[in-house]
């Protein structure tokens, strides 16, 4: 198998709120392989963004990473990111150096009061040690590379002078400045219009090929998953419920949640003039998580007396894909 680049195991991140503890991420295992694209997909509030932020330890109070491991294999010696000291140089190098990250709202992720050049050059200098002049030349080259026209002039532009798409390109340039081996993209196209979305996705794909980096792509958009992913992890209420290669997942979804997700995607031609199937019910409040499998209240195939009582087992299939569901306990899979 491929070389693992990043291995997340048993990650738990919680938020202390007035009404009690919200377990936003509750025991997530994920692996990103070098040069590959992992898409993490799920509804809002399923914990996918918190998972992404936990990797670089970017969870703000009242949130707290409570347990698990995030092992980075990109160095000569693998190490657990979560056990590093705050001022460990390896953490500093990881952030923005080995791992680049882009966010949902590009213009809010840039400081409005400084030029994009200033913010880009700052990051270049932190990670490369170039002098000001060289860093500026590199900044212009990077802006050119991410498709910002007239980079010599735009380098001195303020974020509010650029469109959302241009800001996201600038963010990508910042993320790429130290040739990272992993790019974490946290819903980078959600806030953009459809044509801009497509262009940004193209850009990410091109850059990935060019730099041979891995991408961890957080999204709620199955179309994006189909377009980008090598592997897919489906999250529901803080847990990964299914993990598979992209073709296998779309051809043969195992978990009932994945099935219903796929069924709710409109298909050109087929769905004309009829209502789209939706998943019944709403995502439960993470404060009052249902007993047993947290999907059972909305699941069409739930088994009374079983799904609402016991935690579902993680079933590993022959080809390495997994699903957290009782349906496959006996016949198809091997119990993990």
């Amino acid at each position: 198998m491929e070389q693992p680049l990043l291995e997340i195991s048993g990650l738990r991140t919680g938020f202390d709120t007035y009404d009690g503890k919200v377990r936003a991420v509750d025991g997530v295992d994920l692996t990103v392989h070098a040069g590959k694209t992992l898409c993490v997909v799920g509804e809002s509030g399923c914990g996918k963004s918190v998972t992404a932020r936990s990797i670089l330890r970017l969870v703000d109070a009242p949130g707290r990473i409570e347990g698990g491991k995030v092992v980075w294999h990109g160095d000569d010696e693998p190490f657990d990111v979560l056990s590093l000291d705050h001022d460990d140089r390896r953490l500093q190098r990881l952030r923005g150096g080995e791992i680049g990250m882009i966010f949902q709202e590009p213009s809010a992720s840039l400081l409005q009061l400084r030029t994009i050049g200033a913010q880009l050059i700052e990051t270049i200098r932190i990670h490369t040690g170039l002098d000001k002049k060289a860093a500026r030349a590199r900044a212009i080259a990077l802006l050119d590379q991410v498709g910002i026209p007239d980079p010599e002039r735009r380098v001195d532009a303020y974020p509010f002078q650029l469109s959302g798409g241009m800001c996201q390109r600038a963010m990508i340039a910042i993320a790429l400045c130290a040739n990272p081996s992993l790019l974490i993209a946290d819903e980078p196209t959600t806030a953009l219009d459809v044509t801009t979305q497509a262009r940004i996705l193209d850009l990410i794909r091109d850059l990935q090929a060019e730099h041979s980096m891995a991408v961890m792509f957080i999204t709620h958009d199955l179309g994006v998953v189909a377009e980008l992913a090598d592997e897919v992890a489906v999250m529901y209420l803080g847990r990964v419920v299914e993990r598979a290669g992209v073709e296998e997942l779309f051809a043969d979804p195992k978990h009932p949640y994945t099935k219903q997700l796929l069924a709710s995607v409109p298909v050109l031609g087929r769905d004309r003039g009829r209502d789209l199937p939706t998943i019944p019910g709403i995502v439960p409040n993470p404060l009052h998580r249902p007993r047993g499998c947290s999907f059972h209240p909305r699941c069409a195939e739930a088994i009374a007396g079983r799904c609402d009582v016991d935690d579902p087992p993680e079933v590993v299939f022959d080809d390495g894909r997994t699903a957290e569901c009782v349906l496959y306990d006996e016949n198809e899979g091997v119990r993990a």
Binding site: T13, V22, R23, A24, G45, K48, Q104, G223, P266, I279
Partner: protein, 385 residues
């Protein structure tokens, strides 16, 4: 192609409040605000203080042990007397009974300064609901009972000491509370009337009306307010009745404070104007006035109450400072600021620190209004943390 998305993703804390359990989901807006408010401990304590203050404002004469004009020329600038539950130095040793010790006074022949010593033998019996100075409750019902006071009418019982005129400080503070607190409340209501009228029109209609009103407000805000109200207050004719003066001072303070409230109201109306319930109300044939004050205003009443509560402190502080400087209310009207004039001379103050107690009332009142306002403001958005 996208899944059903309700909330910005990624914040676990947000998700927790979006879809509550059944009880939470079915609670009314008012209940939710109340629940959120209760979590703010300081705000709850402050709310009780404000309620107590309200009681004092309504039942002033009953709460005060002495009448407004009571003056004891034998006890000028006397220190506070400690309220005791029992004493051990009577003839038969220990005995129960609420009382205070009387004072023996001594006048220094040279400096003419009077000093007081508590006299344990001079026992002043104290009781609740005692007969005292006559008054009219609510200005109507003649009565002579007082919440607390000396059992024998005319005995000295000065729990917080006396003023330089020999008036009971505690009673005076009670009377001053009615004046000072009501200046704040009435002033804010006046400012609010002005602010809501102009702010609502400005935010609801928008366009050139909004533009004109906003420029006007900006102009008002740019004019430094404090020197101006000093000037206006000073320009008032000196021989004005206390009641007229009270209302004019309150109006001046309101004229200074309305701009902030107007902006708050305008912002809310502006934000709500495009909401569907407003459109549907209009389509149903409701008039503009009805839509504004029956549909839109109630939807942010908690915000308004919070803004009102937060505006009162500056009014109280302004009245207090103005009166202390001798430009606001004047004796015989009594407010906290007027009372503190008594403490201005350092020769007096150094021997009678209790004269600063009205200042403590100012601080407590200001803090209480602030905390209640803060608590309400935070609670007004029960869905937001």
């Amino acid at each position: 192609m996208t899944l059903k998305t309700g909330l910005p993703d990624g914040e676990g804390a947000d998700a927790s409040d979006a879809k509550g359990n059944v009880e939470r989901a079915t609670a009314s807006q008012r209940t939710l605000v109340w629940w959120a408010f209760k979590k703010h401990k300081l705000a709850v304590v402050s709310a009780w203080i404000l309620i107590a203050m309200l009681v004092v404002i309504v039942l002033t004469e009953f709460v005060a042990p002495y009448g407004a004009r009571h003056r004891d020329s034998e006890y000028t600038t006397a220190p506070p007397q400690v309220l005791k539950l029992w004493d051990t130095d009577g003839e038969d040793g220990f005995r129960w009974g609420l009382h205070v010790d009387g004072h023996v006074s001594e006048q220094d022949p040279r400096s003419l300064r009077i000093t007081y010593e508590p006299d344990p033998d001079d026992r002043v019996e104290v009781g609740f609901f005692v007969k005292g100075d006559e008054y009219r409750l609510f200005g109507l019902i003649p009565w002579d009972r007082h919440l607390i006071g000396p059992k024998h009418h005319g005995d000295p019982m000065y729990l917080l000491g006396t003023t330089t005129d020999g008036q009971d400080l505690f009673s005076q503070i009670v009377y001053a509370t009615r004046v000072s607190a009501s200046v704040g409340i009435i002033g804010v209501l006046l400012a609010f009337a002005l602010g809501i009228a102009l702010g609502a029109v400005s935010g609801y209609f928008g366009g050139w009306i909004d533009n004109i009103i906003q420029r006007l407000i900006e102009l008002f805000m740019a004019v430094p307010s404090i020197p101006l109200w000093l000037g206006i207050a000073a320009a008032l004719p000196p021989h004005m009745g206390p009641v007229t003066r009270y209302f004019i001072i309150t109006t001046i303070l309101a004229l200074v404070a309305w701009t902030g409230l107007a902006r708050e109201v305008r912002g809310r109306f502006l934000a709500l104007r495009s909401e569907e319930f407003v459109t549907s109300a209009l389509l149903d044939g409701s008039g503009h006035g009805r839509v504004m004050f029956r549909h839109m205003l109630p939807s942010f009443s908690s915000h308004i109450i919070a803004a009102l509560s937060l505006s009162i402190p500056s009014m109280i502080l302004a009245e207090t400072s103005l009166s202390w400087l001798g430009l606001g209310l004047r004796p015989p009207a009594v407010s906290w600021g007027v009372q503190l004039q008594d403490a201005s001379k350092w020769s007096v103050l150094s021997n009678a620190p209790w004269l600063l107690i009205p200042g403590l009332c100012v601080v407590i009142a200001v803090l209480a209004f602030n905390f209640v306002g803060d608590g309400l403001r935070d609670a007004a958005d029960p869905y937001k943390h």
